[in-house]
Amino acid sequence: MEKKDYKKIVDKYKAKETRVQNALVAFLIGGFIGIIAEFLIQIYSYYFNISTQDASVFMIVTLIFVATLCTALGFFDKWVNFARCGLIIPITGFAHSMMSAGMEYKKEGPVYGIGSNIFKLAGSVILYGVVSAWIFGMIRFLLFGGV
C-alpha cells in the first residue's frame, strides 16, 4: 500500500478533538486570571499607595508565586490539563514551566540537573520573546520615532 493510502486510513480513525470546548474553557479561565490580576493591581495601588505600574509588577510576582506554589504542591499539572491555554498563556504558565522542569531535574543535582534543565521549556519563550520585542521595538522606532 502506498503511504498516502495508509494516511487516509489513519486520518479516518483520528479522534475528534473538542476544539470549541477547549477554546471556550481557555477563554473563560484565562479571562478569570485577567480579572484576578486587575483586582490585585487595584488592591495593591490602593492599600500600598503606589502607582498602577508598580502595582502590576507586584501583581506579576504574586501570580508567579501562587503558580509555582501550586506546581510544587503537585496539582497545577491537573489544572493545566483541564484549562490548557487558559493557564499556559498567562504568566502562570511560564512560572509553571520553569518550576516543573526544576522539580523534575532536581535529582540530577544543582548544576547538571536544575541548572541546565530549568529553561528546557521556558528557554524558547525567553529567546523569541526577546527577539520579537527587538523587532517590534525597531518597527515602533522607525515608524513612530520611538514614541
Binding site: M1, K3, Y6, K7, I9, V10, K12, Y13, K14, A15, K16, E17, T71, G74, F76, D77, K78, V80, N81, R84, H96, S97, M99, S100, A101, M103, E104, Y105, K107, K120, L121
Partner: protein
C-alpha cells in the same frame, strides 16, 4: 523469518505494576502492585529499576529456582542505554543480554531466549522488561509536573516490571514458533499517534507469520497485538483487510485496550503502551488461560514504535517494528 521451536516451555511468569494498572480491569491478577509511582525510591528511574528487579525476584520465588539455576537474563526497557534493565539485573550476577526493540522488546526477548534453549545452549532463560510512565514522560516528552495536554490518540505508558522464565523442561504452555519482524515506515510523524505508526508493522508480521507457517487467520484462538490503542486497533483491522484481505474479528484484541478501562480511566487516553504493556496482559491473562486450556493457540504480536525525539525533530518519520511469538497449550 519464522522458525519453530521443539522443546521450549513457559515455566512461570511474574508481574509487578504501579497504581494505574491496579485500577484497571486486570488489577487483581498481578503478583504485586504499588499505590505510589515512586514505590519507595528516590527517582522515577530508580523506581523502574526496582520494579524490574522485583519482578525477577518474584519469578525466582514462584518457580522455586535459585539465581544459579538461571543461565541467562535477557532484558530491555525504554530508558536511555536500557539502564533500568542493566541496573535491575545487576544484583543477580547472571549472564546478561541487553536488548532494545521499543515496545516489542518482550517478544524479541522471548524469541531470542527460546532460540538459545532450542539450540541446546542454555536450559533456563529469564526475559524481563520494564517501563515507567513518569520516567518515559521525562525522557521522551515534558517534565512530569508540566502536564502538557495531549490529543486523544496519545497512549499512556504502563508502569511496572514483568518477567518470564523459559525452560526446556515440559510445562503446560509451549513456545511453538516465532517471527522476526521487519522495520516498517509509513511516513508517520506524530508522536502522539504511535498506534498509527505501529499498525503497519503488526500487519506485516501477522501476515508473514501466517504465510510462513501456512496457517489460516482462524488457526489462532487469540491474536493479541501490543499497544496499538483504541485508534491503532481500528487502523490495523482496516489495513489488514485492504492490504492482505485478512479479517481480524472476534479472535483479535490489543493489550493497550485491555490493560486499562478507557471509559473509567480517562487519563490513559487511547490506552496503554510501553514495552510492559503486552507482557502485563499476556502474563497475567493470556498465559493462565493457556495453562487452563481455555485457549489453545495464541499469537502474541508485540508492537514497537522506534521513536526517537531527535529524529522526529529533524523531520524524520517514526519507524516501527513488531515481533510475533506463538504459544500453545500442552495437553
Amino acid at each position: 523469518m519464522t522458525f519453530k521451536f521443539n522443546n521450549v516451555f513457559v515455566n512461570n511468569t511474574s508481574t509487578v505494576t504501579g497504581p494505574y494498572e491496579k485500577e484497571g480491569p486486570l488489577g487483581n491478577k498481578f503478583d504485586k502492585s504499588y499505590d505510589d509511582l515512586y514505590n519507595g525510591e528516590k527517582s522515577w528511574e530508580k523506581a523502574e529499576v526496582k520494579l524490574l528487579e522485583e519482578s525477577i525476584d518474584i519469578l525466582l520465588n514462584k518457580s522455586n529456582k535459585k539465581k544459579e539455576d538461571i543461565d541467562v537474563i535477557i532484558a530491555g526497557d525504554l530508558l536511555n542505554q536500557i539502564s533500568a534493565s542493566c541496573y535491575g539485573s545487576a544484583k543477580f550476577k547472571v549472564p546478561f543480554l541487553g536488548i532494545y526493540s521499543a515496545c516489542s522488546t518482550s517478544t524479541e526477548g522471548i524469541l531470542l531466549g527460546a532460540s538459545l534453549i532450542d539450540a541446546g545452549r542454555v536450559k533456563n532463560a529469564i526475559v524481563s522488561v520494564s517501563s515507567h510512565n513518569m520516567a518515559s514522560e521525562k525522557q521522551f516528552r515534558n517534565p512530569t509536573e508540566y502536564g502538557a495536554p495531549k490529543p486523544r490518540t496519545a497512549t499512556f505508558t504502563t508502569t511496572g516490571g514483568a518477567s518470564i522464565l523459559l525452560s526446556n523442561t515440559k510445562s503446560k504452555v509451549k513456545v511453538e514458533s516465532a517471527t522476526i519482524g521487519k522495520i516498517c515506515n509509513m511516513d508517520q510523524k506524530d508522536p502522539n499517534n504511535m498506534g498509527a505508526a505501529m499498525a503497519v508493522a503488526a500487519a506485516d508480521t501477522i501476515y508473514t507469520h501466517l504465510k510462513d507457517n501456512k496457517r489460516d487467520i482462524n488457526y489462532y484462538d487469540l491474536i493479541i497485538t501490543g499497544d496499538l490503542g483504541v485508534y491503532g486497533k481500528e487502523i490495523l483491522k482496516e489495513y489488514m483487510m485492504s492490504e492482505y484481505g485478512l479479517e481480524l474479528s472476534t479472535n483479535y484484541n490489543d493489550s493497550g485496550t485491555m490493560i486499562y478501562d478507557v471509559e473509567s480511566q480517562p487519563e490513559v487516553l487511547a490506552g496503554g503502551s510501553g514495552p510492559l504493556c503486552s507482557p502485563l496482559v499476556n502474563y497475567s491473562y493470556t498465559i493462565p488461560l493457556l495453562e487452563k486450556g481455555v485457549l489453545n493457540r495464541v499469537l502474541i504480536v508485540a508492537t514497537g514504535a522506534l521513536f526517537s525525539p531527535t529524529f522526529v525533530f529533524q523531520k524524520e518519520p517514526i519507524l516501527s517494528i513488531s515481533h510475533a511469538v506463538s504459544l500453545e497449550s500442552v495437553k
